[in-house]
């Protein structure tokens, strides 16, 4: 059979075809048959027969590739250069694998609803297939198709001009793990391919705070000295009590096989508790006791629990004395005698306000009895896992919630024991993560700011104080220099759509002189770009997939199909730009294994990097499987001697003074670093952070009596199940399965005279979005829920018709850099406008140049 000449042209006619049309056109298509139609067979209506059976297709194991919370196997079944079908792990694609193999040690990595829909994304009409340059106004979405040469010449010239005119901080890199999470083709906020390229180029303002969990990262680093405070999934199976604090794995699939092991815990009698403003599917599945809590008040409730535990002597004093600094007066370091310790803060010895359950109840809306009951459950059930998830940390003082959780985990001795939990960030097993070149340029930057402050910086330059943008300190003359931002690069990131306070971003972006968007599809961010560069998806390039924070396996990601259209990988684009800007010297420094021809033929070079990486895996991780065998097998699943539990070695050895990676070597509830910081304006945090965890009142919340007169609802914006942030928003299957809607409690809806299906506008002083209403008993009164990631779709008046919550959020991060996504007051009323669930035909007409089906 002949290969189709142009796979794209071929797909166009065959993917969306219905069978009657397909048969009409079958003579014309016979040359390059997608599905193996045998022209000699009798034609029947809708007869796809012989439909492509798996043994007529080439089977290629690969994986999904986004920043969702897990990493599962996808198995592509292809004919020629077209993926006809995707399936998932069935136990075969591993060492000693066989169909149906699914064990406690090596469970199958079964893909979720998003992964199983991936073919719709791969072949979506929103795919970017050619380089484009803007011809209209920013955001208008008018582009013309250009050659790679023209696009890259423009980008290279502008980069040089901007660097030479405005200095080494004029270009911001906004790279995120959205599209390229592999060992080689890596988009990463700090050390990815883009950051290294711009650092080497000599013009880079980095964005240091991570939207998902900066408060949590701060807490884990300050308290434990590391973000590797996580257990592997299987440790959950040994818990007697699991407290899901704002955690909903049924939506996020956090961890590769969380369901499997949590179910096992339940079967062994584990009790589950959910603390969350909304009742979740996870709570339902595990029969959890739901404690509805006012958003942003988690730290207060935890303080109330700590008070109960201390005053009833339920804490593990031996654990505290051995491993913890600053939990009480006895564990304060000598140099800090007289400074505040955690227990005396909780008991109210400094401010005459004991943080009793009754005190906490007033703040967080949970009854004091429930707080006591939960405190007792947690302190007396051993082992118990308090899983302090990330989302409650995405608030005005998010780090205080995570630090307070760490204090509870430590005082009950649930750290370093199987079935306990110290998460936090929750990074567990350590993977060999880097196959791309890694050197002194890996994280070179000339300014680094809190990520959602770029618009503030652009709009107010030069009248910006360093603490307002969280400027990271330096030891050279660039310390404290406010960056004069003139350009942005987006790689693997739809940040314009995903950062806070979008209307402020829109005002800021018009002041920029270069905006480059590198992505595999058009995105709301892309509409605001000057240059759109089409990037190959992970099906179209060679790589290896890493587990995402939890899991101990590698999945081979071969180049399943050739890049669609003129797509290139990020690595190809940066290498080519390096050659264009700095000739062979820059080119070879950036990509040492490649010559100029890498832009046209990347395969041998990519293979060479991956082979080197595999050698590291073999020598560092005791893997005997050869690279060739790994490629043929599809995945490598590690078998660990026992479930990986963070800090277990330290706790089991019961070493006095511990070996935590903090400056004291202990779990620092009282932080040495914070206590010794004299001038917070000179730190990246910018504003003071107390040395011990404390409840600090957020700037917008339901306890703010004045503000709720105007804006009576607190809005939270958790992850949806049917998207990974903004990725997959354009997938028909998922669109048909779920609606973007505002969730509201029935009693609130009654008061407002609203019912399910009404179109409402959600608004505050920062913006407004239009969205259908869903009335439920599963959400606490006073709180509304709107899932993040809808694709921005502005009407003439600037209102967002898609229901994107970030037109309402505030671009004011916490001192530690936590995005305040969940610190939002708003109001809701019935709207005359029509909600647009996606970019409908009118909206997509703006981007029609990207669409193959129009």
């Amino acid at each position: 059979m002949k290969e189709p000449k142009d796979p794209l042209e071929f797909l166009e006619t065959s993917l969306n075809v219905n069978r009657r049309d397909f048969l009409k056109g079958s003579a014309a298509l016979a040359a390059g048959s997608l599905v193996g139609i045998d022209a000699t067979r009798e034609a029947k209506a809708f007869a796809y027969e012989p439909y492509p059976r798996d043994d007529e297709l080439t089977t290629v194991p690969t994986s999904c590739a986004h920043n969702c919370g897990s990493r599962h196997m996808l198995v592509a079944h292809k004919k020629g250069d077209v993926i006809v079908r995707l399936s998932t792990d069935d136990g075969r694609y591993q060492k000693d694998g066989e169909f149906g193999k699914d064990t406690f040690e090596e469970p199958q990595l079964r893909a979720c609803l998003r992964g199983r829909s991936y073919r719709s994304r791969l072949y979506s009409p929103e795919r970017l297939l050619h380089p484009m340059m803007r011809v209209g106004k920013r955001g208008e979405g008018k582009f013309k198709r250009v050659s790679w040469d023209e696009a890259l010449t423009h980008v290279a010239k502008e980069m040089i001009r901007i660097r030479d005119t405005y200095g080494p901080t004029a270009l911001v890199d906004q790279s995120y793990a959205g599209a390229s999470y592999g060992v080689l083709h890596k988009s990463d906020q700090i050390e990815g391919l883009l950051g290294r390229f711009m650092g080497m180029f000599g013009c880079r303002t980095n964005s240091w705070s991570v939207p998902s969990y900066q408060g949590t990262t701060f807490s884990s680093r300050i308290t434990f000295g590391t973000i590797e405070d996580g257990n592997e999934d299987d440790a959950f199976a040994f818990s007697k009590l699991i407290i899901m604090w704002g955690w909903n794995p049924a939506y996020t699939f956090h961890g590769g096989n969380t369901f499997y092991y949590m179910r096992m815990a339940k079967q062994k009698g584990c009790k589950f508790v959910l603390i969350d403003p909304q009742y979740t599917d996870s709570a339902s599945t595990y029969d959890a006791w739901w404690i509805p809590i006012r958003p942003n008040t988690d730290a207060a409730m935890m303080a109330g629990m700590a008070h109960y535990i201390f005053t009833n002597n339920l804490h593990d004093q031996d654990f505290i004395d051995t491993f913890v600094q600053g939990m009480d007066a006895g564990t304060m370091p000598d140099w800090a005698q007289g400074q505040e310790n955690f227990k005396d803060y909780i008991l109210g010895n400094y401010d005459d306000q004991p943080k009793t359950p009754e005190w906490a109840a007033e703040i967080c809306g949970v009854s004091a009895d429930d707080i006591k009951k939960l405190a007792r459950m947690y302190a007396t059930t051993k082992p118990a896992a308090l899983k302090a998830s990330w989302s409650p940390g995405r608030n005005a003082y998010g780090e205080q919630y995570n630090r307070m959780a760490a204090a509870l985990q430590a005082m009950t001795g649930n750290i370093g024991v199987l079935g306990g939990c110290a998460e936090g960030v929750g990074k567990a097993w350590h993977a060999e993560a880097v196959a791309y070149p890694y050197d002194q340029y890996a994280n070179t930057w000339f300014a680094s700011i809190k990520s959602d402050r770029w618009a503030h910086c652009v709009l107010n330059y030069p009248n910006v104080k360093r603490e307002e943008i969280g400027l990271w300190p330096r030891t050279d003359e660039l310390d404290g220099v406010i960056p004069n931002i003139k350009g942005i690069f987006w790689q693997g990131s739809d940040w314009f759509n995903q950062l806070t306070n979008i209307n402020k971003e829109i005002a800021a972006i018009n002041k920029l002189e270069l905006v480059v968007c590198m992505d595999s599809t058009i995105t709301p961010s892309g509409l605001y770009a000057d240059v759109l560069l089409p990037i190959a998806t992970h099906f179209e390039r060679h790589d290896v997939a890493l587990p995402w924070y939890k899991g101990h396996y590698y999945i081979h990601r071969p180049k399943v199909i050739e890049p669609m259209g003129e797509s290139k990988t990020d690595f190809q684009v940066f290498t080519e730009l390096a050659w264009r800007i700095g000739g062979e010297k820059f080119g070879r420094t950036y990509n040492p294994k490649a010559g100029r021809d890498y832009f046209d033929n990347p395969d041998p070079v990519d293979e060479a990097y991956l082979v080197d990486w595999w050698h590291k895996v073999q020598s560092h991780q005791g893997v005997e499987m050869s690279w060739e065998e790994f490629k043929n097998t599809g995945s490598y699943k590690f078998k660990l001697d026992r479930p990986h539990v963070a800090f277990q070695d330290i706790v089991e050895s019961r070493m006095q003074n511990g070996q935590w990676q903090t400056s004291s070597g202990k779990i620092e509830i009282f932080s040495t670093q914070l206590a010794q910081t004299k001038d917070f304006t000179r730190t990246a945090w910018g504003y003071p952070i107390p040395a011990i965890p404390k409840w600090i009142e957020p700037w917008e919340w339901l306890g703010e009596k004045e503000k709720i007169k105007k804006h009576p609802f607190h809005m939270i914006s958790p992850h949806p199940r049917w998207r990974t942030h903004s990725i997959f928003h354009n997938i028909p299957w998922l669109r048909e399965t779920y609606d973007q809607e505002l969730t509201m409690n029935a009693s609130d809806a009654r008061k407002l005279g609203l019912k399910t299906g009404d179109t409402v506008e959600v608004f505050n002083d920062r913006g407004k979005c239009i969205v259908p209403l869903y009335v439920t008993e599963r959400c606490m009164p006073g709180v509304v829920v709107l899932h993040e990631g809808a694709w921005l779709d502005l009407d003439q008046e600037g209102d967002d018709l898609s229901g994107n919550p970030d037109v309402l959020t505030l671009d004011e991060p916490s001192p530690a850099g936590a995005f305040a996504y969940n610190t939002v007051l708003c109001d809701v009323r019935k709207s005359d406008k029509a909600h647009r669930p996606g970019w409908d035909q009118l909206a997509t007409a703006r981007s029609h140049v990207f669409r193959r089906d129009l």
């Binding site: 209506a45 796809y48 079908r85 049924a250 339902s284 739901w290 007792r376 051993k382 048909e736 029509a834």
Partner: protein
């Protein structure tokens, strides 16, 4: 006679929809496809799905419950959709009990969907033909596959293994055992349709935890007798679930 069917464990399902998209993935590219999408980019996107998850909410705040209910054709032993079909397009296979539609005979009159008490027939608006779950007939009868792999796509995809598949007429099959031992039930048996698919009910877990399980053996509080529960305090099992 063999009667193939699904048995779905509602106690395990988290409502994740992986079965929904896996079903669509397999069937839109297989014998029973395509499964077209209508207006995916406009208001009220809809499309053809052989398998859907319906979600029900129970109770009043804060004592709420959620039930996810995956539903596809139940492959009735007495399928009401078959006798109403004017063209004989709707039929039940004699060898394995799977209810199917012959697209070549179907005229799209929708009588069968009126007759079906479960609302599981899926009209393909694009091709004007009635479609429905085939139990992945092109997989389960594909003799080129090893027997272990002849399972519907949804069963192979479920991340929580909530979906079982087999012959409900064979008393020793996995599905029959599950139905017998775990209270498997049919949907609306009063219709007399005898659906072959069964559901395993939600079960609340109320397991009493033993004292020695609660307390870590090396916990110093035990030695000092500080961890004993005061008698007037609620225990774990008194929590209002």
């Amino acid at each position: 006679m063999t009667q193939l069917a699904l048995v779905i464990d509602l106690n395990v399902c988290v409502g994740c929809h992986a079965c929904v998209t896996s079903c669509k993935q397999w069937n839109t590219s297989g014998w029973a496809g395509p499964l077209p999408d209508q207006n995916p980019y406009e208001a009220d996107p809809s499309g053809t799905f052989f398998n859907r998850v319906q979600t029900f909410e129970i109770g009043k705040f804060p004592n709420t419950e959620t039930l996810h209910f995956p539903k596809s054709c139940l492959h009735c032993e007495e399928p009401p959709c078959v006798p109403v079909c004017p063209t004989g397009a709707s039929y039940k296979r004699e060898d394995n009990g799977v209810v199917l539609v012959d697209y070549d005979k179907c005229i799209g009159c929708k009588y069968c969907s009126w007759a079906c008490p479960y609302g599981v027939r899926e009209f393909d608006e694009k091709n004007k033909v009635m479609k429905k779950c085939t139990l992945c007939i092109d997989r389960i009868t594909d003799m080129t596959l090893p027997e272990a792999e002849r399972k519907p796509a949804c069963v192979l995809s479920c991340p929580t293994n909530a979906r079982l598949y087999g012959d409900v007429h064979d008393p020793d099959s996995e599905v029959s055992v599950a139905i017998r031992e775990r209270g498997g039930y049919q949907l609306q048996p009063e219709w007399g349709t005898q659906p072959a698919n069964h559901y395993l009910p939600r079960r609340k877990v109320r397991i009493h935890i033993h004292e020695d399980e609660l307390v870590r053996s090396d916990n110093p509080l035990v030695k000092e007798d500080l961890a004993a529960l005061p008698e007037d305090v609620d225990t774990l099992d008194d929590v209002a679930w």
